[in-house]
């Protein structure tokens, strides 16, 4: 099982990497190794287990934390940990963020419920951007490479990550997808998350901004129903506004609800069918990319080093820190 996302490793597929490859790269670093080691350790030294004390010929009380035993004193003790549960994911996300910063890359994490038009919006956005800027895409879905194929049809590089049973992308998956994607310096990297308004809000991928897409065929109260996601996002795209004449949908009410959970959220109304509102959206993207590029000087060092090497290095750093 993947210890970051909880999905079984056999189901996690990163396109362009064979199963064995992603396994060797990913799982053996943190899961297989730790897990197997601890397991066999427990079993080999079963005399340490209080359960087996009576049956063993050697009673070793010196194995306790203090390597000593006082009569009547239990070996049990309290350990203060004070550790964020998602700290492992946050470490991978921080490595990704550093990768993006060093290359002046703007990474955006697109989140929405299934069917709100993430992939259509992304395809149209890429059509608008690709003549002026390099773009690449990491596609997250439970199964199939359909979305990556749709993106590739626009002529840009896309990597599909199948999460298997997982309900979200995590920092580790994105790190390895970057290894295969090798995005250009000063470019856009769009990460299309699994269609889900709950879990992806908790998992930082190292992106600069989360962009939440809400379509007008959904409810006005969605920001209130899924406050965590709308709170985590910096920009909300209200999609499919060309359908408004046919619907009873209160745009003002929706924006008010979004601001209720996140007073700082910016809202743009777009239609990926008619192109309405795209001028603002593209302006926002270009301005945000300019911000990401400020202070970035293309260095021969990062250009020559392959992304794969860097991800391996960051894995190493993380495992060293954890150890």
């Amino acid at each position: 099982m993947c210890t970051v996302c909880g999905c079984s490793s056999g189901n996690l597929k990163i396109e362009g990497e064979g199963l064995e490859h992603s396994h060797a790269n990913g799982q053996s670093h943190d899961h297989s190794h730790d897990h197997h080691h601890d397991h066999s350790h427990d079993h080999d030294h079963s005399h340490d287990h209080p359960h087996f004390h009576e049956h063993e010929t050697t009673h070793d009380y010196g194995q306790g934390p203090a390597h000593a035993h006082a009569p009547g004193l239990s070996q049990a003790r309290m350990v203060q940990i004070e550790q964020n549960i998602l700290s492992k994911n946050d470490e991978y996300a921080a490595a990704n963020r550093q990768y993006f910063n060093e290359r002046g890359i703007l990474a955006l994490n697109l989140v929405s419920s299934p069917g709100s038009g993430k992939t259509t919006t992304l395809c149209k956005t890429i059509e608008e951007l690709k003549d002026k800027h390099a773009c690449s895409v990491i596609e997250g879905d439970q199964q199939t490479a359909n979305d990556a194929e749709r993106i590739r049809a626009t002529g840009v590089k896309a990597i599909q990550v199948n999460t298997g049973k997982g309900c979200h992308l995590d920092g580790h998956m994105v790190g390895h997808a970057l290894g295969s994607l090798n995005p250009q310096e000063g470019s856009f990297v769009f990460i299309e998350n699994v269609g889900n308004l709950v879990c992806p809000s908790a998992f930082d991928l190292g992106e600069a901004h989360k962009v939440v897409i809400l379509s007008v065929t959904e409810g006005e109260d969605k920001p209130l129903k899924y406050p965590d996601m709308f709170h985590a996002a910096d920009l909300m795209l209200l999609n499919k506004v060309d359908l408004l004449p046919h619907l009873e949908f209160d745009v003002e009410k929706t924006i008010e609800n979004a601001r209720r959970v996140n007073p700082g959220i910016k809202v743009l109304q777009i239609s990926s069918t008619t192109g309405e509102g795209y001028e603002d959206w593209i302006n926002w993207l270009e301005a945000t990319l300019s911000l990401a590029k400020i202070g970035h000087k293309p260095s021969p060092d990062t250009q020559n080093k392959s992304a794969d090497d860097l991800m391996k290095q960051s894995d190493l750093d993380i495992s060293q820190n954890a150890g």
């Binding site: 993947c2 730790d34 287990h49 350990v79 940990i81 709950v198 908790a202 406050p227 959970v261």
Partner: protein
């Protein structure tokens, strides 16, 4: 739905800490979970037992330390307790609240052997 992943994260921390702090069995796990952390407690309790099975924390007791969700009300200039992110101030009804606590999602302490 991501409670399973969170329990996997807990197990990973326990395994790392068992090497660092020299223990072999975990008897109790105390977590600080805020109401705004996005975690469903019932799902977490269920996943915990499943994920810990066969590990160094098999059969361990899960203790949840409830943390209050708090916010700073600009109108009252005071810290108030809230239930949801979009709640109005329970004292003055203002919506000008800045959430200050309740997003905790961490392991506080362990009882180990």
């Amino acid at each position: 739905m991501h409670e399973m992943s969170i329990c996997e994260g807990i197990l990973q921390i326990l395994e790392t800490e068992s090497a660092n702090k020299n223990f072999k069995q975990v008897k109790k796990v105390a977590l600080e979970i805020g109401p705004l952390s996005g975690v469903e407690l019932e799902a977490l309790k269920f996943s915990f037992d499943v994920v810990m099975k066969g590990s160094l924390a098999d059969g361990s007791e899960l203790i949840i330390i409830d943390m209050p969700a708090t916010a700073w009300c600009m109108q009252c200039a005071d810290t108030v307790t809230i239930e949801q992110r979009y709640d109005d101030c329970p004292k003055c009804g203002s919506a000008q609240l800045q959430v200050t606590g309740g997003e905790e999602l961490s392991i506080k302490e362990l009882e180990v052997d």
